[in-house]
Homo-oligomer: 293 residues x 2
C-alpha cells in the first residue's frame, strides 16, 4: 500500500511516502509559506508517487466535523493567509484520493498507538512541548473530537510555589502553554531552554507544570500511556522529574498497576521525531480502509 | 423490551424496570448493606419481571476491563465488605441475562446522551456533585475507559483567592472533590450547604472550583455538552456563576459557537434525578443489542 502523508506544521511541511506498516520510504520538507503555494508544493511532490490514499496531520485549529460545510479547513489561526483555508479540499482536488485529516497531535497519538510506544493499546495521550503545547487524545480505540478537537495545551495549572513568571499565553496568561512552552521558558529565564544546564531550577518548574496537566488528564481519562514529545522534551532530565511529581499528585488514588511503573507509563515517543508523519500515514491507511469497506 | 436497571450507590441501591425508550415503569430502592444481602435483594426484585437484559451503573472503583479475570468487580473501595466484590458476577449468576456494567457516572452520561440533555450528541460529560464528585465521560460515541475509568472528581484545581480551606480529600487535600463536594462545603463553613443563603460567598467559591475543572475538561476533550447533577447542584444559583467563570477562563480561545451560548452548554440533567437509573437502562439496552448482534 502506498500512502501519502503530510505533517502540516505552522513552520514547515513534511511530506512522505509510507505503507501499511508505518514505514517511511521517502520524504521532503519545506517551509510553510502562503497556503496556495505551500499546498501546491505538497501536491506536486505526491503527483507521480502513485499514492492510494493521503493522511494529513495539521496545525490548527481545524474543522474536523465531517458533516460541516467547512470540514477540512484550518479555521481561526492568526497565521497570515491560513485562516479559513480549505487545506484538505485543495489537496483532495489535486490528488483525488481518499484522505484522512486530523490535528498534528491527534495524528501523532494515532501513530504511537499503531506503531509506537502505545502499540496495541486502545488509549494514549500524546503531548508535544515545543514552541506551543498540543495534546492528542486517543481513547476507546479512536481519536477524540468534539465541539472541535483537544486543545489540552491550554489547561489551567496550579503555580509552582517558586515561580513568579506571569505567563506568556495571549489568551490565558499562565495556562500550561503560557508557563511551559519553549517561549515561556525563554522569557522566564532570559535565555532559551537549550542553553540552561541540566540541573538548572528551570527544569523543576517545567516538570511541575507538565505534571499538573498530566495528572489532570490521568484522572479525567485514565489513558493507558502518556507520550511526551517535542523540542523541550529533548531535555531528558525532565522525565524522572515529571514522573515523580505525577506520582506525588496522584498519591496512590488511581489503583492500576501501570501507575506503579511510571518509567513505562510516561515515555518519549516510540517513533521519535517521526510520530507526526507516521501518524499521518496511519490516517491515510485508515482512509484507504474506509474506501474499501 | 424489558430491561432491568440498577443504580448501585454507596448509600442506596435503586432498581427499576425500563424499556428501549428509556422509560421507567417500576422502581424500588433500599439501603446499601453488606454486598451479599444487597445484591440478593436486587436479584429478588428482578426475578419475576421477565427482564431480557440488565444494566448496572455502580459506585467504584470498578474493574471494567472485559478481558480481566476480575471484570465486573468493585475493587479498592473502603466500603466495608465491598472491596474486591464480584458485583456483576453475582447478579449475572442469579439473573442469567446479558448485562452492561459501568460506573454510576458513566451510566448517567450515557443516559443523558441517549434520552436527556445531550440527546443525539456523540459526546458529553456528566458531573455529579454531592457527597463526592464523579465524572462520566462519553466521547466519540462511547463511554470512556482506560487503565480504569474516569476519576475526574479528583482533578487538581487552582485555589480561589479568598479560600483558605485546607481541603477535605484524604488523598489529595485540595483537589476538586476536596474543595467542592458537599462535605468540603460543610467543613469550610461549619454548616451544610443547604443552610447557606443563595447569596452566601460559599457559592462563588464553589462555582470557582467547578469552573476550573470544567474549563480543563473542555480544553482537553471539547465535549458537546456539560451536564451538572447531584445534590449540590440543586443550588441553581451555581449555574450562572459557573458559566461566567468558564467563559472568563476560556477567554474565547476555543472557537465554537456552542461556547457562545453557555446557558445551553452547561446544563442540569435532562433526566433530572433519574439520570443514573435511566443510564443503567441504556447500558442494559446496549447489552441486549450485543446479544442479538
Amino acid at each position: 500500500m502506498i500512502i501519502g502523508a503530510i505533517e502540516a506544521g505552522g513552520t514547515k511541511f513534511v511530506c512522505g511516502i509510507g505503507n501499511e506498516h508505518g514505514e517511511i520510504s521517502d520524504r521532503i520538507s519545506f517551509p510553510t509559506e502562503e497556503p496556495g503555494k505551500t499546498t501546491q508544493k505538497a501536491a506536486d511532490y505526491f503527483k507521480d508517487k502513485g499514492i492510494e490514499a493521503l493522511g494529513v496531520g495539521s496545525f490548527g485549529p481545524l474543522d474536523l466535523d465531517t458533516s460541516s460545510a467547512t470540514y477540512g479547513h484550518v479555521t481561526t489561526t492568526p497565521k497570515p493567509g491560513w485562516a479559513n483555508y480549505d487545506l484538505l479540499g485543495h489537496l483532495k482536488k489535486e490528488l483525488n484520493v481518499p484522505a484522512g485529516f486530523d490535528t498534528d497531535v491527534n495524528a501523532a497519538a494515532f501513530g504511537e498507538a499503531r506503531w509506537g510506544a502505545a502499540q496495541g493499546l486502545d488509549s494514549c495521550l500524546y503531548y508535544t512541548v515545543g514552541t506551543g503545547i498540543g495534546v492528542g487524545v486517543y481513547a476507546g480505540g479512536r481519536l477524540i473530537h468534539g465541539l472541535i478537537h483537544p486543545e489540552g495545551g491550554h489547561v489551567l495549572v496550579r503555580r509552582h510555589p517558586d515561580d513568579t513568571f506571569a505567563g506568556a499565553c495571549p489568551y490565558h496568561g499562565d495556562c500550561l502553554e503560557g508557563m511551559a512552552a519553549g517561549p515561556a521558558i525563554a522569557k522566564r529565564w532570559g535565555q532559551s531552554g537549550d542553553s540552561l544546564s541540566e540541573d538548572h531550577p528551570a527544569w523543576d518548574i517545567e516538570a511541575h507544570y507538565l505534571a499538573e496537566a498530566i495528572t489532570g488528564a490521568i484522572l479525567l481519562l485514565s489513558p493507558k500511556k502518556i507520550i511526551l514529545g517535542g523540542g523541550v522534551m529533548y531535555q531528558n532530565q525532565l522525565f524522572p522529574l515529571i514522573r515523580q511529581k505525577v506520582a506525588k499528585n496522584l498519591n496512590g488514588y488511581v489503583a492500576s498497576s501501570a501507575l506503579d511503573d511510571l518509567d513505562r507509563y510516561i515515555v518519549p515517543p516510540g517513533l521519535g521525531d517521526n510520530a507526526g508523519l507516521v501518524g499521518s500515514v496511519a490516517l491515510g491507511v485508515e482512509a484507504a480502509g474506509r474506501l474499501r469497506a
